[in-house]
């Protein structure tokens, strides 16, 4: 198996980008990544996207984007694993290079969730849940997370404001990220007075509906030097990669408060990389809701069961803390264009590991983990990257 490295990154700002169509967003991110790597061709494009069929009446999106980017005669496919589509595409891009099927692979993530005429984004997002056993009964995606959060607060006797620290940390970091949707810090008061979406989840617990695209250029590690010599940014190696599934429906879980697929996939990547959670310099986790940040810290070995929320208030998750999370704003503040999020996370880890994260730079960052979650924990893809 060939080792695989990332030699170029690109991203659009995240937001309600009504002036750009899906294909234009993808082109913007992909052309930026190719310019960053200094490549003018690619052998394949694997595109993470969840909602183009539901919201844009457009499937065949991989080839549409490849065509719009000017590629001809290359492999193109869309990879869908709900909100984990981006990291699922990254894994497949890595397989394509590792196997020798391809040498230069573009992995992109794309989602256009706003300005979709006559479509219902909430119903679209509910397609990540079980249509016949969850969505049909009227539960939305926020609703499912609200049930989990409610149970967590009951089970572990956690106060309602315990999650505010996750939001404040995310916005603090997003304030310094020019690509973030929200670039202003929030206070505890802002959190406490935020309108409720689905009890107990308020709007400050939730990531926003938005548009965005991000891209990576992958090559065999042995080639990486060619692309980065004399370049401001070094290559980043994919040290470990794993994906695990759980039951799709939350009600089928043995324990709805434990992200078993996160546990399984992170145990695999720790083993592959020969490290443990304490060796990581940062962790881009999937804070689609604050409860997911708490559960992610627990399942991946940073906190004991029922105690992930405590880290939000201890300073441990800040840029200078024990394990910085959401270092560029996370899903809450940078934004969560669902099928693109896993690629944004990888882009941000690359920024950190190449010393180009600006005001949010984690000092001497060498090892970073990213974890992308599909559905309410049903598909979890985890990567460890090293500089």
């Amino acid at each position: 198996m060939r080792s695989v490295s990332i030699v170029g990154i690109g991203q659009t700002p995240v937001g309600e980008l009504w002036d750009r169509s899906a294909r234009q967003l993808a082109y913007q991110a992909i052309s930026a990544a190719m310019a960053d790597a200094g490549v003018e061709r690619a052998d394949a494009l694997f595109l993470g996207n969840m909602l183009s069929g539901s919201l844009l009446d457009q499937e065949h999106l991989g080839t549409l984007v490849a065509d719009f980017c000017g590629f001809h005669g290359i492999e193109a496919a869309k990879i869908e694993a709900a909100c984990a589509s981006g990291a699922a595409a990254l894994r497949i891009g890595a397989m394509a290079v590792a196997s020798g099927f391809h040498d230069i692979v573009i992995v992109a993530g794309l989602e256009k969730m706003t300005d979709t005429v006559g479509k219902d984004t909430t119903a679209g997002l509910a397609t990540a849940a079980d249509a016949e056993y969850e969505a049909l009964h009227g539960v939305s995606f926020v609703g499912l997370n609200a049930l989990i959060m409610q149970r967590y607060m009951y089970e572990f006797d956690v106060p309602l404001d315990a999650f505010a620290g996750f939001t404040m940390n995310a916005h603090q970091n997003g304030a310094n990220n020019p690509h973030a949707m929200f670039q202003e810090p929030i206070t505890l008061q802002d959190y406490l007075k935020a309108p409720v979406v689905a009890t107990p989840i308020n709007i400050m617990d939730s990531s926003p509906v938005c548009d965005g695209a991000a891209a990576l250029v992958l090559v065999p590690t042995e080639w990486a030097k060619r692309f980065t010599t004399g370049h401001h940014r070094g290559a980043v190696q994919i040290l470990a990669s794993a994906s695990a599934n759980d039951t799709l429906a939350v009600h089928d879980r043995r324990d709805p408060l434990f992200l078993e697929a996160a546990y399984i996939s992170s145990q695999k990547v720790y083993r592959q990389a020969g490290i443990g959670p304490d060796d990581l310099d940062l962790f881009e986790l999937h804070d689609a809701f604050t409860i997911m940040a708490a559960l992610g810290l627990e399942a991946n070995g940073f906190a004991r069961r029922g105690e992930g929320w405590r880290m939000a208030h201890s300073g441990e998750i800040g840029i200078g803390g024990r394990i910085p999370i959401s270092t560029m704003g996370g899903l809450k503040s940078r934004g969560h264009p669902v099928g693109a999020t896993g690629v944004y996370q990888a882009v941000e880890v690359v920024q950190q590991l190449t010393g180009t994260a600006g005001a949010n730079q984690v000092r001497d960052a060498r090892l970073g983990m990213a974890q992308n979650i599909g559905g309410s924990g049903a598909t979890i893809v985890t990567h460890i990257f090293g500089s």
Copy 2:
């Protein structure tokens, strides 16, 4: 790169299967393939599907099927490339094994196109075309193919009944396939009196809207003997695999009558396998419309430009002919559950190469090719298999 072999196959009958939901169809095919291979676990599931978002309000389909099949902690993703989703998933499954990421991989194709309450299947299929530049103007998928066929007839002076032979060959073979949707031969008279769908395409030129699922078990070739010793069916090796894109919109093509992506991908697989078209014992081509059969024969080196249609009448494409096509009924008679078709094609080549194709067995078949087309030729995936 590890060589990859297929050690198990499974398929449901194709048809309007109103008594089975999407997940049940997938389970039926996957459990049959696993029983055929004698495996009880898998490391990953790559699921080809096009329309679950549009027609079933269900994304996250890879994990949904993995969960319903009883898999826990494995990788699962849906692969979408319009009607080429099945073969696109097969390529990714092959990469997963070739790279060493996984050892036992399930590749499945699934489509549920009928009994979809309140949904428009024609509009769903049009998502394979360019939503903003083709579908928005009202052209359906059949419409696009009708324009291509009309032009072909004009350009090469081809009579309207010239395509009947493709349909008659497909139905002749489908009559002996217990999994085929249509199991009766048709006559030239049947073809001539068939109602027109979009001039000049009639209902006998067109593959049907239907449901179905098919599955394959992939392992490293060096492991294949373990699974097939004492078994009725031998392993089949994936000798070559390639995918190529063209412009998504037909109006952007340099020449709408030449399947350039078929040419590129078949040239690649011929080179990889070290063979030419004359060495093949059979060719499962993508006869979604009869015009696509003619164009496929031309682009892949079996006929000269403008002469593919002549093969339909010469007996060359029959079971005992020069290059048997649609040997189990093809898309026309077996049926075309779009995202599943590429996997059905692979299943059928395995049947032929292992001598288990029943009444349609091609004698001494050793080398078979399958080609799966997404959109009107925008994504074309080609495989060569060997026994």
